[in-house]
C-alpha cells in the first residue's frame, strides 16, 4: 500500500505524518472562494500557483502531495523539489481555504519540508544560503554589521530613551537596515503619544526568515536571545511595526504547535506582543489621540500575510485608517482573509527577486484599479516589495506605512 510511511529518515516530516495524511486531496485550497447571496468572491489567491501553474505549486495540495510522495519513497529529492518548496511565499491563502483536519498544520508542514530540504543536496536558492551563512554572527539577514543596527535612530532620541520601559520597540531587521524611515516614524509616533518605551541595541533578528525557511537549528539562539530581552529591560511588552516580527514574537515564541514553535524553543510567557496598530486602535478607542491635521487622500490597504491570515488581524489597521480625518479608504477586490500576498514572504524576495517583484506588480495593479492614490500597509517587508514594484512598473501610486500616515498629524490628548 503506497500510503505507508516508508522514509523515516525525514524525521521532522515523519513526526507530523499523522497530520500530513489527513489531506483528502480535495483541492479546496487551490482557489479562493466565498459564497455570497448576490455575488460570490472568486479569485486566485495562491501566488505560487498563479505563477508556476502546475498542481505541484498550487495551494497546499501540491505540497502535501510532495510531502507524501517523499515519505512514501515514491519520489526522491531534486532541485525541482527545492524549487516547489522555496517559491511558496507562505502567505497562508491555501490554509484559509482548507476545510479538512490538516488545516492548522499546513504552514508548519511547509516549513518542515524546507527543514528537510536543507539536509539534502538540492538547489536551495543561493541568496537564502548566503544570508543564512552570516545571520548567525550578524544577527540580521541583510548581511549588515550588527553594530549598525541602531544607526537609524537619531542621536537625540537615542539619548532620551530610558534604560528600562514598559514597551520594547522591536524595529526588526527590515526597518533597521532598509526602511529606516519607518523605524524613525514609529519612534517619533511613540514619543508623541507619550508611550513608555525603549529601543534596545541588542535586538536580534526575530528569526522569522529562519523559521519560514525551515532553519530550525539556527533559529534557536535567536528565539532564546530575544525572549530574554523583556526581563533584561524591565518590559512587559514588545511593540513592533513589522508584521513578520509580530507574527514571530506573538505566535512562534508563545504558542504551541502548529501555530507556534513552543514545542521546539519553549514558550515565552508574561510578555505581551503588540503591533503598532493595536496600540493606536486602543488609544483611539480611549480617546487618547488627537488629530492635528488631516490626510486628504484616497488610500487602499494591503493586508500583510503575517498580520492578516497568520494572526487574523484584519480590522485593527483599517479602524486606525478610518479614524484619520480626510482619509478615504477603498478596498482591493482581494482583501482581508482573501488578500493576495505582496510576493516577498517565505524567503521568496531573497531567493527569487524577479518572481517576487512580478507578484508585487500584480498587487500594485490591483491597488491601482481601486482608484487610490496611495497604497498603505503595516509591514516594512511588504512596503519594500510594493514600493519597489511601484517604481519598477512606473505606477502613479505612492506607498506609505500606516505609521507614516499617522505620525505627522497626531498628538497625545
Amino acid at each position: 500500500m503506497s500510503h505507508l510511511l516508508k522514509n523515516k529518515e525525514l524525521k521532522e516530516l515523519a513526526k507530523i505524518y499523522d497530520w500530513v495524511s489527513m489531506c483528502t486531496h480535495c483541492g479546496n485550497c487551490k482557489y479562493g472562494y466565498e459564497y455570497g447571496p448576490t455575488s460570490n468572491f472568486a479569485a486566485m489567491l495562491c501566488v505560487q500557483g498563479d505563477k508556476f501553474n502546475f498542481d505541484s505549486y498550487r495551494g497546499s495540495r501540491g505540497k502535501v502531495s510532495l510531502a507524501r510522495s517523499l515519505l512514501h519513497n515514491r519520489i526522491g529529492w531534486s532541485d525541482k523539489v527545492a524549487h516547489v518548496l522555496f517559491t511558496c511565499t507562505s502567505c497562508g491563502a491555501c490554509q484559509q481555504m482548507c476545510e479538512t483536519d490538516i488545516k492548522p498544520w499546513i504552514l508548519r508542514m511547509f516549513e518542515t519540508l524546507r527543514y528537510e530540504a536543507w539536509k539534502q543536496n538540492v538547489a536551495i536558492p543561493e541568496n537564502i544560503k548566503a544570508w543564512s551563512s552570516t545571520i548567525g554572527t550578524l544577527y540580521n539577514p541583510y548581511k549588515e554589521p550588527h553594530e549598525k543596527r541602531l544607526d537609524w535612530l537619531p542621536s537625540d532620541v537615542k539619548a532620551s530613551l530610558p534604560k528600562k520601559a514598559e514597551y520594547i520597540y522591536f524595529a526588526g531587521c527590515t526597518a533597521s537596515y532598509r526602511r529606516k524611515q519607518l523605524a524613525r516614524a514609529t519612534v517619533s509616533l511613540l514619543k508623541k503619544l507619550k508611550v513608555d518605551f525603549t529601543v534596545v541595541a541588542d535586538e536580534w533578528c526575530c528569526a522569522s526568515p529562519l523559521l519560514r525557511t525551515g532553519q530550525y537549528d539556527l533559529a534557536a539562539k535567536f528565539v532564546e536571545h530575544n525572549k530574554a530581552l523583556p526581563e533584561k529591560y524591565g518590559a512587559s511588552a514588545f511593540i513592533t511595526t513589522c508584521s513578520g516580527c509580530y507574527r514571530t514574537l506573538g505566535r512562534d515564541y508563545t504558542m504551541d504547535a502548529p501555530e507556534g514553535y513552543a514545542d521546539k524553543y519553549g514558550k515565552m510567557t508574561g510578555v505581551k506582543v503588540l503591533h503598532t496598530t493595536h496600540l493606536l486602535e486602543e488609544m483611539l478607542n480611549k480617546g487618547e489621540i488627537e488629530f492635528t491635521g488631516s490626510f486628504n487622500k484616497k488610500v487602499t490597504y494591503h493586508d500583510p500575510c503575517h498580520l492578516g491570515r497568520h494572526a487574523e488581524v484584519y480590522e485593527t489597521p483599517r479602524n486606525v485608517l478610518k479614524a484619520v480625518p480626510g482619509l478615504q479608504l477603498v478596498e482591493m477586490y482581494r482583501n482581508r482573509k482573501f488578500s493576495f500576498c505582496c510576493g516577498a514572504g517565505g524567503g521568496v524576495r531573497g531567493g527569487f527577486a524577479d518572481y517576487s517583484l512580478e507578484t508585487a506588480g500584480k498587487r500594485v495593479k490591483e491597488a491601482e484599479a481601486t482608484g487610490a492614490e496611495l497604497v498603505t500597509s503595516a509591514c516594512p517587508f511588504c512596503y519594500t516589495n510594493l514600493a519597489d514594484a511601484i517604481e519598477l512598473n512606473k505606477s502613479p501610486l505612492k506607498m506609505e506605512d500606516i505609521v507614516e500616515i499617522i505620525e505627522p498629524i497626531v498628538k497625545r490628548k
Binding site: 500500500m1 503506497s2 479546496n28 472562494y33 510522495s69 525541482k80 479538512t100
Partner: protein, 486 residues
C-alpha cells in the same frame, strides 16, 4: 528526477512553451493519485495548453507516438478518473479558463474546461436575465454540486455530475447545449447548434453526437468548449425536512413528493451520513434515532408560490402518514440548511470533518438507480458495509422526472492502513455487484466498477462501445485503461 524522453519533451515544449511542460517527478506527483483508493500511477509529462490549437498539436503528437493522454482539470472526481493507468501525458486544462459567452436572453453560457465553479457562479450572479436589454430578475445559476470551488464545471457536466437543481432540471449533463471537441487524432469538431452558427443553445434537433463524449471518462476526446443552459435565480427559497424510521418509508415519501415536480431537490441521508464526522469505523446508531433524514429545497418567484409549495408538501406528508408511512418531524440545523441553499459551497461537505479519524481516504459506490430499488439495495448495502466494519452512510437523491436517482454511500477509509483500504474497496465493489441486477449503474466509475459493469453488460452494447472507441481513438491514447474494453 525526470521521466519520459527528451525528444517528446522538446516537442511538447515547442507546442506550449517550456514553462508549461514538465517531466519532473516533483511536478508530476500531484497527478498520481486522488481521494480514492486508486493506486498512484506516475505520468511521464504534464502539459498545460492554452488554446485549442495547442490541444490539437499535443494530441497529434501523442497519437503519432502512441502516448497516453489523460485530460485533467482539477482532479477532484471521486473515481480515480485522472490517475494515469499507463503513464503518458497529463493534459492539465486549467489554463483554458475563459467564460466565452453568457447569453442572458437565450440563457446559455459557453465555457472552457478550466472554468471553476467559483468563477462561473460569480460571473452568473453578475449577469441579469433580460430580454433586449430589459432586465427582469437578478442573476443566473447553474447546477451547483457539493465540491471544491476549484472543480471544473465542464468536467463535471460531461461526466454526469449532479447539481442542486437536479430534482427540477436533471443532472448537469442534461443541461449541456453544445460542445467543441478535439478528437484523439487532432481534428476539431463542433457538436450541436454551434456547428452551424455561433449560437450554442441546443443539441437538438440534430443527431446527439455529444453522447460520444459524455460519460466516456475522457476516453474519446478533449472537450474544449461547452455550452450550458443557465437559469434565473429564484428569489424565494426554503428547506423542508422530515425523517423516517426506515429506507422503505423515506422512499415512499420521496416518490410521492417528486411526482408533484415542485421541488429543486429532494434528498435523504442515512443516520450515519448525517453524523459529523461520519461514524468510522462502524458503530450502531442509537435505537431511537431515525434511519433516514430527508430535506427538500423549494424555490419560487413569490412568497405565495413558496407558500403553495410548502402547503403541497405538507399534504404529501399527511397523505403518507394516513397510509401508515412512519414519518418523523425533525428540524434541520441552521448550518445544514445554509449548506443546502448557499451553493456552490466552499465547504466540501463530503470530505469535511472526518479526515482526522479516517486518514484521508474517501470513495463511494456512486450510482444512478431506479428509486424502487433504493430500499432493497440499502438493506443489502447496509449488511455489506457493516460486515466490512463500515458505516452505511447512504444518500438517495431524486433526479428530474420521477424515473431514477442517486444511490450512493460515502465511504471514508484510512489510506495508511492497507486493511482499511482493502475493506473499503471490497465493500464498495460488492455493493456495485449487488446493485447491477436491480438496475443500478455506477457513475464516474473507478476501474474496478467498470470491470463489474463490463462483466454483465449486453454483448452488443460492448461491441458497439468498442467499435466507437476504436473509430475515434484508433491508437487507444485517450485515458487508456478506464473503460476496460481496450
Amino acid at each position: 528526477m525526470a521521466r519520459g524522453n527528451k525528444e517528446i519533451l522538446a516537442n511538447l515544449e515547442q507546442i506550449v512553451g517550456p514553462e508549461y511542460v514538465s517531466n519532473e517527478e516533483a511536478d508530476l506527483q500531484p497527478y498520481t493519485w486522488d481521494m480514492t483508493w486508486a493506486e498512484p500511477r506516475m505520468p511521464d509529462y504534464v502539459v498545460m495548453p492554452k488554446t485549442v490549437t495547442e490541444v490539437q498539436r499535443v494530441l497529434r503528437l501523442a497519437n503519432h507516438r502512441k502516448i497516453p493522454v489523460i485530460p485533467y482539470c482539477n482532479g477532484t472526481n471521486i473515481g480515480g478518473l485522472c490517475v494515469p493507468e499507463e503513464g503518458g501525458i497529463i493534459m492539465d486544462l486549467k489554463k483554458m479558463d475563459r467564460i466565452l459567452k453568457i447569453d442572458p436572453e437565450t440563457c446559455y453560457a459557453v465555457i472552457e474546461p478550466g472554468v471553476s465553479h467559483a468563477a462561473f457562479s460569480a460571473a452568473l450572479k453578475a449577469t441579469n436575465p433580460q430580454w433586449k436589454g430589459e432586465e427582469f430578475s437578478k442573476g443566473f445559476e447553474f447546477g451547483w454540486g457539493v465540491h471544491p470551488p476549484s472543480a471544473s464545471v465542464l468536467a463535471m457536466a460531461i461526466n454526469h455530475g449532479i447539481g442542486h437543481l437536479n430534482g427540477r432540471l436533471g443532472i448537469n449533463s442534461q443541461l449541456m447545449s453544445s460542445m467543441e471537441v478535439v478528437l484523439p487524432t487532432g481534428e476539431v469538431a463542433k457538436i450541436g447548434s454551434c456547428a452551424y452558427s455561433d449560437s450554442w443553445h441546443s443539441f437538438l434537433p440534430l443527431p446527439r453526437m455529444d453522447g460520444l463524449f459524455t460519460g466516456w471518462l475522457g476516453t474519446t476526446g478533449i472537450v474544449t468548449k461547452l455550452g450550458v443552459w443557465i437559469f434565473p435565480i429564484r428569489p424565494y427559497k426554503d428547506v423542508l425536512t422530515i425523517a423516517a424510521a426506515s429506507a422503505e418509508d423515506i422512499t415512499k415519501y420521496m416518490v410521492r413528493w417528486r411526482h408533484y415536480s415542485l421541488c429543486d431537490e429532494v434528498t435523504a441521508v442515512s443516520w450515519w451520513l448525517a453524523q459529523i464526522p461520519i461514524v468510522f469505523p462502524y458503530s450502531p446508531k442509537p435505537a431511537d434515532a431515525p434511519e433516514f433524514f430527508s430535506y427538500t429545497v423549494i424555490s419560487g418567484w413569490s412568497q405565495e408560490e413558496l407558500d403553495y409549495k410548502r402547503k403541497m408538501w405538507k399534504e404529501v406528508v399527511a397523505k403518507e402518514r394516513a397510509k401508515g408511512t412512519k414519518l418523523i418531524d425533525f428540524e434541520y440545523p441552521p448550518e445544514a440548511k445554509k449548506g443546502r441553499t448557499e451553493l456552490p459551497s466552499r465547504i466540501v461537505g463530503s470530505t469535511k470533518n472526518y479526515s482526522k479519524s479516517c486518514g484521508g481516504g474517501i470513495a463511494w459506490p456512486g450510482t444512478f438507480a431506479p428509486c424502487k430499488s433504493w430500499p432493497i439495495l440499502y438493506e443489502k448495502w447496509k449488511e455489506i458495509y457493516i460486515r466490512h466494519g463500515l458505516s452505511p452512510a447512504t444518500r438517495f437523491t431524486d433526479y428530474q422526472g420521477a424515473h431514477y436517482g442517486m444511490l450512493r454511500c460515502m465511504t471514508p477509509f484510512n489510506k495508511r492502513d492497507p486493511a482499511s483500504v482493502q475493506a473499503a474497496r471490497d465493500a464498495m465493489v460488492e455493493c456495485v455487484r449487488a446493485g447491477l441486477p436491480e438496475g443500478m449503474l455506477p457513475y464516474k466509475p473507478p476501474v474496478e466498477y467498470q470491470n463489474e459493469l463490463n462483466a454483465v453488460a449486453d454483448a452488443g452494447y460492448l461491441y458497439l462501445m468498442t467499435k466507437i472507441k476504436d473509430m475515434l481513438d484508433p491508437n487507444n491514447i485517450m485515458n487508456p485503461g478506464k473503460l476496460g474494453i481496450r
